[in-house]
């Protein structure tokens, strides 16, 4: 009896030591360059990235390299990677980011310059990769002083997707270049809560990269802007107010029930089930709508993104790209570079088209050759995707001049926070927790504060 608990504790302790030792032995496998390396990758939870995860886990093999991929909610991913890059961490070897981060991080030295890696490639590999085939607009958004700092995995703009069946049933037709007013009227007409049909679905969940994306393009379309050339905040203007009101109108009068918990994943699920009429989102959302899992495959129409006061350039421009963590070990960086080449190569694209001819797993808008592939060019959305991409100019997002660039975001580091806060105020306003005046005032004050705190003004 006396020694019982002593024995129990000893046993637990020894057990723990054994497990701990095993963990220790397993954990120290990626330090030596001549031994196996494990590269840690985090991807976003959008459909194409999830497809990459599946394909990479089953089809990627490189000698002595183990892939460790985690798929994180997009907001989490951005927060983790940004804090990681800014504190010089080595948790992730590859950074999965967009032009917003790439430009800034390249400047800060938080991304590895890829030119030395390309220079070190043997000639055949360079030819096989065919850098010139990458869509130059995308490449440019990921470069600094002519050097590439990230490779585009897939690119997107935004457009309107609509359920042709529902439109026909109500005898409605979608204009080729609709205005937001027209979209609203159409959404109202389709909206049929008694039969469970939502007129228009849009992202409602806050986050600068979530509801912020469609919302900021709406602001641009209404002729609004966030700063004037002297960095005074210009949120409290009739143009911006128009956008705020339209966003709310659509969601409250003709939108999904659980407004604020809808990320693009939920919107896609709703659209795929045939229960929504119109959907404004990224061009990269079209493939899942045409995939085998979608009940509306083949019945989706695509038109240009809505304009209002500003007649064109009302879409967004984004790509998800892969960069290398400059703080990783040399062996890891090399392994990541090879993985990046594989994932952004023509071989990868061909493989995905073979695997899924609907194009649901094929990264769009990264390479020109993708659109030359017969199978891919036949997809219903290919043409409109290209058209919207060509219509964008991310250096001139608004009608009046502004001191910033970026179509669905403002390319300043503080926007990750300020933009998220803005979408939080927007959410508050949409569900009637605060008035429009209150939301606009808070946003305006916020952006003014940012301009002062960040020494812009």
């Amino acid at each position: 009896m006396k020694h019982f608990s002593f024995k129990v504790v000893t046993v637990i302790f020894l057990f723990a030591l054994v497990i701990g030792f095993q963990a220790f032995a397993n954990g120290s496998s990626d330090s030596d360059a001549t031994e196996d390396v494990t590269i840690n990758i985090a991807l976003a939870n959008n459909p194409l990235s999830q497809a990459l995860e599946k394909i990479a886990n089953s089809k990627y093999s490189a000698e002595g390299v183990t892939l460790n991929i985690a798929v994180l909610p997009e907001n989490d991913l951005r927060q983790r990677l940004t804090t990681e890059a800014s504190t010089g961490g080595t948790t992730y070897d590859m950074f999965y980011i967009g032009p917003y981060e790439a430009n800034n991080w390249a400047r800060n030295g938080w991304l590895e310059d890829l030119e030395p890696y390309f220079d070190a490639l043997p000639a055949e590999k360079l030819a096989w990769y065919d850098r010139a085939d990458l869509i130059q607009g995308m490449v440019g958004s990921l470069s600094l002083n002519g050097d590439s700092y990230a490779l585009p995995f897939y690119g997107e703009s935004s457009f309107i997707m609509y359920n042709k069946e529902l439109f026909e049933a109500k005898g409605l037709s979608m204009p080729d270049e609709p205005t937001w007013d027209e979209i609203y009227e159409l959404a109202l007409a389709i909206n049929d809560p008694a039969n469970g049909i939502v007129g228009m679905t849009m992202r409602g969940a806050p986050g600068w990269g979530m509801s912020g994306a469609p919302f900021v393009t709406m602001v641009n379309a209404f002729g609004g802007r966030f700063y004037d050339m002297d960095w005074n905040a210009t949120v409290d203007t009739p143009e911006q107010r128009g956008a705020w009101e339209m966003y709310k109108k659509i969601l409250r009068d003709a939108g999904q029930q659980d407004i604020l918990s809808y990320t693009y994943n939920e919107c896609i699920a709703l659209m795929q089930s045939g229960k929504a009429g119109i959907y404004y989102d990224a061009t990269s959302i079209a493939p899942p709508l045409e995939s085998a899992e979608s009940s509306i495959a083949g019945k989706v129409g695509y038109v240009m993104p809505p304009h209002q006061k500003q007649k064109s350039n009302t879409a967004w421009l984004w790509n998800w790209a892969m960069g290398i963590n400059p703080k990783s070990s040399e062996a890891n960086k090399e392994a990541v570079f090879n993985f990046m080449l594989w994932a952004t190569s023509k071989d990868f694209i061909n493989m995905t088209v073979e695997m899924d001819p609907t194009g649901a797993s094929t990264p769009p808008a990264s390479r020109s050759s993708t659109y030359a592939l017969p199978a891919y060019a036949k997809t219903p959305y290919a043409e409109m995707t290209l058209k919207t991409l060509e219509s964008t100019d991310f250096t001139k997002p608004t009608m009046e001049p502004v001191p910033y660039v970026g179509l669905q975001y403002i390319a300043i580091p503080e926007f990750a926070d300020a933009g998220t806060k803005m979408t939080e105020y927007l959410a508050d306003y949409v569900v009637d927790k605060i008035s429009l005046d209150e939301a606009i005032r808070k946003t305006n004050d916020l952006f003014n504060q940012v301009a002062i705190d960040g020494d812009y003004r």
Binding site: K2, H3, F4, S5, A16, G20, N40, T87, Y92, N265
Partner: protein
Amino acid sequence: MNIKRKMRKSGLTIIIFTIAIIYFFPILYMFMSGFKTEAQAVRPALFFMPTLKTFGKVLGDRNMFGYLKNSVIQVSVGTSISLLLGIPAAFALAFGQFRKKETNDRVYLWFITTILLPPVAVIIPLYTSFQKLSLIGTPWGLMIVYVGFHVPIVVWMLHSFFSDMPLEILEAADLDGCSRLKQLVHIAMPLVKTGIIASGLLVAVFIWNEFFLGFNLTGNTTATLPVYMARFREQQGQFIAQLSASSAIAILPAIILGWMTQKSLVKGLTMGAVKG
């Protein structure tokens, strides 16, 4: 027993069980849904044809196994080290002789106030230093933080257990020339066996379920189950069966452990705390 009493008893039983089942329903439903396929799980339903496919899929997922392993490591090693450090500390605080008499009380109070410390108060320096020292890719960084946060719980619970021990036994041992260490291991520890088990269990459940530190101080290879669970929050309607099966695996050990040991837990908590 007369009719009235019997009716009262039956009525009470029905009420209690209704409340209990409704209270537990979300977890019960989650366990059930783990046995559905995704198609079956989309619409809430109580009756369906069960299948093991989803569990198989989840268990076969290499990543899931990794998170499970990480949680097991954190709990087993973390609890053991917490006990290893906490038991002697509680002992010393209860019986130790220090130069100043108030030391015992002061240090005990210092341990207690640490329990009040919310993890947000330490996350920034911990995160930045972990990044610099590359501790996020190893389980040891997080583990030592867990130990730091849970040793005070062990000390707090065991302190009163130890204080309840009659001094004479230890005095006698002293006279026999028994070393402090021997006193602790051979005499004191067996006497507070319940307390050790209770605090060990409590710490184990806490570490298994801990989220905030695990969320911010881990990477792909070291993430624990609560962190993995949080990733499901944006999967509306798409993977309910998988979510249910994964949750079932994640929470089963803690629930079983908690259930089997409720009595010890209560004894430890109340004995340890009631005496203040």
